[in-house]
């Protein structure tokens, strides 16, 4: 049990959680940060928050700083899967349990962290692919798919691409004709889609690695005089409010949820870990998928 850090107002028994966030690269991420900050306050946990600005070196030094500051539990969303062994070992040696959120690490020694809570990007890609495969089940004409990838080399981009490609490989009619990065950005989604539309005849489906790029692409499709959701079917990942609105409006056809709201679950885990209870090694965030109909009912409840 911790408590040796002793924050001024909370007395000795207040749990101190050090959390290192990847960065603030999207609205999704901001919602994630907010969820963690709010639920920490609600759970009476003192949160030490650090933003790594997308850099692994920052994150490593933040974790080390948490060790120096003698926090009770460390949690972090790894920027990248590899390369955490050394710093995790340091935490272990200092007797501080670690929880991974949102993204996994590839350490062979799984005792280095207590638990991993978060979504599975490959799974998200698969869900998107499965919906598509079902949509075109039994049809024989070729389906032209264009893909808007996330930031080149980033874990979500790689995994969402992989999961999707794996599933649609089962149907030879489904073909990805163009695939290009839109850097997870709305503006880039728009410009890349403009070029797709110009250079690729007969696009049937757009698969975007996040809502923002999809929303940008919708602008481009509309400007080209086509109807998003009808002329071109659109699948995206995330299910942020803007995306859900578009889904409800019929401009997007299917969204795979990737929930940023893992704050409450994380706080619960942190308390358990600190108390020395055994916890599950892998906790999946509660996530689902949305069709246009589901979106209409869900939309009023969306906070982010």
């Amino acid at each position: 049990g911790g408590g040796d850090s002793g924050s001024e107002d909370g007395g000795d028994d207040k749990l101190v959680l050090g959390f290192s966030q990847v960065g603030a690269e999207s609205g999704w991420r901001t919602a994630n940060t907010k969820s963690i900050q709010e639920s920490a306050a609600a759970a009476g946990i003192e949160l030490k928050f650090s933003d790594a600005q997308g850099k692994q070196e920052n994150q490593i030094s933040a974790i080390r700083s948490f060790i120096t500051q003698k926090v009770d539990v460390i949690a972090f969303s790894p920027v990248v899967v590899s390369g955490w062994d050394a710093v995790l070992k340091e935490a272990k040696d200092a007797g501080i349990p670690v929880i991974l959120t949102d993204r996994a690490v590839d350490s062979q020694d799984t005792s280095l962290y207590a638990s991993f809570i978060g979504s599975d990007f490959v799974e998200e890609g698969k869900k998107a692919g499965e919906w598509l495969a079902k949509e075109y089940e039994g049809k024989s004409e070729p389906v032209n798919i264009v893909e808007l990838q996330g930031t080149t080399g980033s874990a979500p981009a790689l995994d969402r691409q992989k999961g999707f490609a794996d599933v649609i490989a089962g149907n030879p009619n489904l073909k990805i004709v163009k695939s290009q990065t839109g850097d997870f950005k709305r503006a880039d989604g728009k410009t890349v889609m403009e070029t797709f539309l110009q250079s690729t005849p007969d696009i049937d489906v757009l698969y975007a690695h996040n809502d923002d790029m999809g929303l940008g692409a919708i602008e481009a499709i509309e400007a080209a005089g086509k109807k998003p959701g009808t002329d071109i079917k659109i699948i995206t990942v995330d299910a942020v409010k803007d995306g859900m609105t578009a889904l409800a409006d019929g401009k997007i056809n299917f969204i795979v949820e990737c929930s940023p709201l893992l704050g409450p679950q994380l706080m619960e885990l942190a308390k358990k870990v600190d108390a020395g209870e055994t916890v599950e090694k892998r906790v999946l965030t509660k996530e689902t998928t949305f069709t246009q109909e589901q979106a209409k009912t869900e939309l009023p409840n969306r906070q982010y």
Binding site: S50, D51, V80, G153, L158
Partner: protein, 339 residues
């Protein structure tokens, strides 16, 4: 009919040799001294404000956490001193880490991998230097092309992050150097400090070092004075490439992995560290010691942010900006007064 005032030229009475200009030998160190003092003030305020900040390991960790930046900034210092700029360092780091990880994964012996990647870094640097010198291409654009090339290559080799499981790498990564009770550091910090030391000696005591300053002062004059301008320029970029590769190796040791997006934007951090440390971007003026201080300043700012612990990303940026601003302006005012 002369009406000449008799007040002495200098307030403290006429100098012994009236034709000798009043010159304080330490004038050129004033920026460094000012920076150092401000750094100390910043550190003390950290100690006063945050618990555990005074722990010696916080200070010692600065060197470990910023080892990569330090090594890269040292190389950058040479380049900037000649009046150039090297934007490719961050990308060279990523290429180095990816290549190291890939080669080690492929079963290459670590003692072959190490010189190979270092040589590759130097080679990239030399190539850029050659383009800059022989084809008179702006350093900015030549090294930007180098950036695209290096990171592009890294991405095509492997987009995913690759873990390093090599025993030697892991051993170095986990090796601890105990400085005192509870204060440990890592080999990478030692390597980084060694790099600073070697660079300082090179700049102050060798012909090459002085040529670097001369070229930065005035490249045309240096050429007319018969200095090997081309060779020195190429050497400087080679050195920077080498330092970047060394930084990449340290990076791969620190994180035991290789990834093509590693070191993104590090070039700007390195340039900023040099400039904060008083190296003039126009060339010819500054010291490696200044660069060291510059790196410590950025590291300390980061540490303060970490200790503050309740800043979201927006406030993190703003506070970093504010601290940087306060530091730079104070530094500027202090040195201006002292002159």
């Amino acid at each position: 009919m002369t009406t000449v005032d008799m007040t002495p030229v200098t307030e403290k009475g006429a100098p012994t040799n009236p034709r000798r200009r009043v010159y304080r030998p330490n004038a050129k160190y004033i920026p460094i001294i000012a920076t150092l003092s401000l750094l100390m003030i910043m550190y003390s305020s950290g100690v006063a404000n945050y618990e555990n900040f005074g722990d010696p390991s916080v200070f010692v960790n600065l060197f470990r956490d910023n080892a990569v930046l330090l090594v890269v900034a040292v190389g950058m210092t040479f380049v900037i001193l000649t009046g150039g700029i090297d934007l490719s360092v961050g990308a060279v780091i990523s290429l180095t880490t990816v290549l190291t990880a890939t080669l080690l994964k492929g079963g290459w012996p670590p003692l072959v991998v190490l010189p190979t990647v270092l040589a590759l870094g130097a080679l990239i640097g030399a190539g850029q230097g050659a383009v800059i010198h022989f084809f008179k291409v702006e350093p900015f654009i030549a090294t930007l092309a180098g950036l695209f090339l290096a990171r592009g290559t890294a991405l095509t080799i492997n987009q995913e992050s690759i873990p390093i499981r090599d025993e030697m790498w892991k051993a170095i990564s986990e090796y601890r150097i105990v400085l005192a009770e509870g204060v440990v550091t890592k080999p990478i910090a030692v390597v980084a400090l060694l790099a600073v030391l070697i660079a300082a000696v090179t700049l102050a005591w060798t012909r090459f070092g002085r040529n670097v300053y001369a070229i930065g002062g005035n490249a045309d004059s240096a050429l007319l004075m018969g200095l090997p301008v081309g060779r020195t320029k190429i050497a400087v970029y080679t050195l920077s490439g080498f330092c970047a590769a060394l930084g990449g190796v340290l990076f791969s040791i620190n994180s035991t992995s290789g990834w093509a997006l590693q070191g993104n934007g590090l070039e700007l951090d390195a340039i900023a560290a040099c400039v904060i440390g008083g190296v003039l971007l126009t060339g010819g003026s500054g010291y490696v010691w200044g660069t060291l201080l510059g790196v410590l300043v950025t590291g300390l700012i980061q540490t303060i942010i970490n200790f503050q612990g309740d800043l979201n990303s927006a406030w993190t940026r703003i506070i970093v900006g504010v601290l940087l601003f306060a530091f730079i302006v104070l530094q500027r005012l202090v040195t201006r007064k002292a002159r």
